[in-house]
């Protein structure tokens, strides 16, 4: 793959970036739930 961040590749990085943010957010939510549970 051409690893540039420009052109159409920007959409690819954005998609994977949002995916990573989503996974981190869910894991953070799970951790918060663990804090609430006994």
């Amino acid at each position: 793959m051409n690893w540039t961040l420009l052109g159409h590749n920007a959409y690819v990085w954005l998609a994977y970036g949002i995916g990573a943010i989503g996974v981190v957010f869910e894991l953070w939510q799970l951790r918060r739930l663990a804090g609430e549970a006994p």
Partner: protein, 251 residues
């Protein structure tokens, strides 16, 4: 080996099983994701028509598959909750809903970002896209309904009912590209026709799909354990049940 399913219908026994499975699934998910990303982003060849933009497929397709699969699994548990009144089934619907919502959002956002360079637009009111958006609304409706009623059996049963009614949308999403003329392409992988892509692309896609499956199992089991622990702490509040009564009848 014979598995005693009724044994694992008990939240306490299920909790013990989940505790053992979560670390293995999480590790396997991370491993598959790393391998899938290496194959998908580096080893798989650049597409002759779409260039590197097609690499969104490695996140878009697993997310879209998981969004539908998780809803189907929720519907099965919802039906078990409504028909057999199994406490664990209602808890599993609750545990599955946030992960299903995440995958649906990812499928829609990554699809939108793929649509811009290939179709020239982020969004069209196409049958596949619209039905997937309706799936997101169903997930959001379920989360809001469960949140409004609270962590009780009444909330479990109301959520189960919504999930079972909404499952009609899943075949509509899946077959939309066959039933209607859509901008969205048809299936790239078929059990009857095989895959219409290069082997390295298929390998990356299957690895990322395995990662999404294992991640979902790990996260859902971990969330189910938290919910079981919370129910054990407040059994009286959670015991509030709910059933459908004719109008005017005493509940």
């Amino acid at each position: 080996m014979k598995i005693n399913w009724l044994y694992y219908a008990s939240p306490r026994n299920f909790d013990r099983l989940a505790a053992r499975l979560v670390p293995y699934c999480a590790f396997a998910a991370a491993l598959c994701a790393v391998c899938g990303l290496i194959v998908g982003l580096e080893i798989a060849p650049t597409d002759a028509v779409q260039g590197d933009a097609y690499r969104i497929i490695f996140i878009h397709v697993p997310a879209a598959w998981m969004s539908m699969l998780i809803y189907l699994v929720m519907a099965v548990y919802g039906l078990i909750e409504l028909v057999l009144n199994v406490r664990l089934a209602g808890l599993l619907v609750r545990a599955l809903a946030p992960t299903g919502t995440l995958f649906t959002v990812l499928a829609l956002v990554s699809g939108s970002l793929w649509g811009r360079p290939t179709w020239g637009t982020y969004w069209v009111w196409d049958a596949r896209l619209t039905s997937e958006l309706i799936l997101l609304f169903l997930y959001c409706g379920l989360l809001l309904l469960q949140g409004a009623i609270g962590p009780t059996r009444r909330g479990d049963r109301a959520g189960a009912l919504l999930v079972v009614i909404g499952v009609v949308n899943i075949p509509i999403i899946y077959f939309s590209v066959q039933w209607w003329n859509t901008l969205h392409q048809g299936a790239s992988i078929s059990l009857s026709r095989g895959a219409s892509m290069a082997p390295a692309m298929l390998a990356g896609l299957l690895l990322m799909t395995a990662a999404a499956w294992l991640y979902a199992i790990a996260v859902v089991l971990a969330r189910a354990r938290r919910l079981i622990a919370a129910r054990r702490e407040e059994p009286a509040a959670a015991a509030q049940t709910w059933s459908i009564h004719p109008i005017g009848a005493q509940s």
